[in-house]
């Protein structure tokens, strides 16, 4: 109910701003909607959204897997931490644009370059978050595992992973938003398809309804994935907390 109200307010502000600024600069909602419908009819909208989504998924999975593993290693092994730390600081502060441009120069304007560039941008935040999480692991539970001789994999799944769950969730959250933002830049600079490419085209043609049509459907997609996928997973992982007296 509140969400609906919030959404209506957004539409109202948009419409009001459009009236004030003039339809040239900010088209009213119905015009953008008709652009969305036209793109959807031709199938282009779904194609470009699908392509972008696939890149997001691949880069996200790659960065989360690699980043979590590295973060865990750096949290557990002091030597790994000291060796990896300078790299981590470098990667954390390297602008996304630099990574993307270099990837395209070195690996060509290819899919691999795009996905690798997006993943590299997300990687360091995942590493940092998981490293912090690993440092907070409860040593007394490690002792319990040792005394009862719980097999390694089982201990990882039932003892370590639940402790890391909030950190994994935080890394996924911040990582997903980062990937959403960067994927469009990567597409704009070096891919012949995807939402970022279409926005680039709209920019060059100064086709503002088209630009908004892609931006807003993309935002809607992010919102749907967030509420339908990310939030339920989070709720499930922290179910034991809520029931606690």
């Amino acid at each position: 109910m509140l969400r609906l109200l919030s959404f209506t307010a957004f539409l109202a502000i948009w419409w009001g701003a459009s009236l004030l600024a003039g339809g040239e600069k900010l088209p009213a909602p119905p015009i953008v909607l008709s652009a969305v419908v036209a793109e959807a009819r031709s199938g282009a909208l779904f194609f470009h959204l699908g392509v972008t989504l696939a890149r997001v998924a691949l880069a996200f999975i790659l960065a989360m897997t690699l980043g979590s593993a590295l973060g865990y290693l750096m949290g557990r092994v002091r030597l790994a931490d000291r060796l990896g730390d300078p790299w981590l600081i470098l990667l954390l502060h390297l602008p996304a644009l630099v990574v993307i441009v270099l990837a395209y120069i070195w690996a060509g304007l290819t899919e691999v370059a795009a996905i690798a560039a997006i993943a590299i941008n997300k990687l360091p935040t995942a590493v940092v978050t998981l490293r912090e999480g690993t440092r907070t692991l409860d040593a007394t539970l490690d002792e319990m595992v040792a005394v009862f001789a719980i097999p390694r994999w089982k201990a990882f799944r039932h003892v370590i992973l639940p402790q890391l769950a909030p950190y994994l969730a935080a890394a996924a959250r911040s990582g997903l938003s980062l990937v959403w933002k960067i994927v469009l830049v990567a597409e704009l600079l070096g891919r012949p398809n995807g939402v970022g490419f279409e926005i680039g085209v709209a920019f060059q043609l100064f086709d503002i309804p088209l630009l908004l049509a892609y931006s807003l459907t993309f935002a809607a997609l992010v919102l749907i994935i967030e509420t339908a996928l990310v939030q339920p997973i989070e709720a499930r992982l922290s179910r034991w907390r809520r029931r606690a007296a």
Binding site: E143, M144, V147, F148, A149, K154, H158, P162, W240, A244
Partner: protein, 246 residues
């Protein structure tokens, strides 16, 4: 009932800790244990009584193999299963009571589990999460977990600390029942003489730091046959022993 009791079995555990030295946060070296020696026979309950902070937990950590940094020798049969109750329950808050127990004892069958939960009064709490339990209940879950692995060694680190007297007495009874239900060599650490006289087959009295055994007292009467008079007699023995050693 347990066969060959007490002291009937072969020597099961022999501990000779020559020295255990700590370096504290300020960088000062402190000796926690020095010349800490004892033996326990199969199926015996050894109770260690000593002042707070005398290094009892340090000794237990060495015996179970959590702390390899000491001088001396601990010999116990290879591959012996250990069940331990830590000072704090150390349960997984994200797993239910039953899952916590099954995690360490994947092969435990439903009947054994039922008996165990029944003895400890945990039947109603099987599906609860540890965060929903009182300390007394959480302690009992930790006990259930230690027994579920059907251990050869049972290690109890002040399992009754910070419980009120009535609850402690009840839990003490439950521990006695469980210990007598199978042959398990047990180490119990406590600063409470009541725990010692009710549960022990062999009592060890410890000195201040650096800690070692100053007196050993075997108790001949089985746990179940110790009436109030017998308990009183043991306590008198203890008083005489500890006085003589001070």
């Amino acid at each position: 009932m347990k066969p060959g009791y007490p002291g009937g079995g072969a020597v099961q555990l022999e501990v000779n800790i020559a020295s255990k030295v700590y370096t504290n946060a300020a960088g000062k070296r402190q000796e926690a244990l020095a010349g800490f020696n004892f033996k326990l026979n199969e199926g015996e309950v050894g109770v260690f009584v000593g002042p707070s902070g005398c290094g009892k937990s340090t000794m237990l950590r060495i015996v179970v193999g959590l702390d390899p940094d000491y001088q001396g020798r601990v010999s116990r049969p290879a591959g012996a299963k250990i069940g331990m109750v830590f000072q704090e329950p150390r349960l997984l808050p994200w797993r239910s009571v039953e899952e916590n127990v099954r995690l360490v004892a994947p092969h435990v069958d439903e009947a054994t589990l039922s008996v165990l939960f029944g003895t400890l009064g945990l039947e109603a709490h099987r599906s609860h999460f540890p965060g929903e339990l009182s300390l007394g209940l959480a302690r009992r879950v930790a006990l259930a977990r230690a027994f579920a692995v059907e251990p050869d060694f049972l290690i109890l680190d002040e399992p009754l600390a910070s419980l009120d007297d009535a609850l402690a007495a009840r839990l003490r009874g439950q521990i006695a029942t469980l210990v007598d239900s199978r042959t398990v060599t047990t180490l119990l650490v406590t600063h409470n003489v009541d725990d010692a006289v009710h549960l022990g087959d062999r009592l060890f009295f410890l000195s201040q730091r650096p800690s070692h055994v100053i007196a050993e007292l075997p108790i001949g009467t089985p746990r179940t046959k110790r009436g109030p008079a017998e308990i009183q007699r043991i306590k008198t023995d203890i008083a005489r022993l500890t006085l003589a050693n001070l």
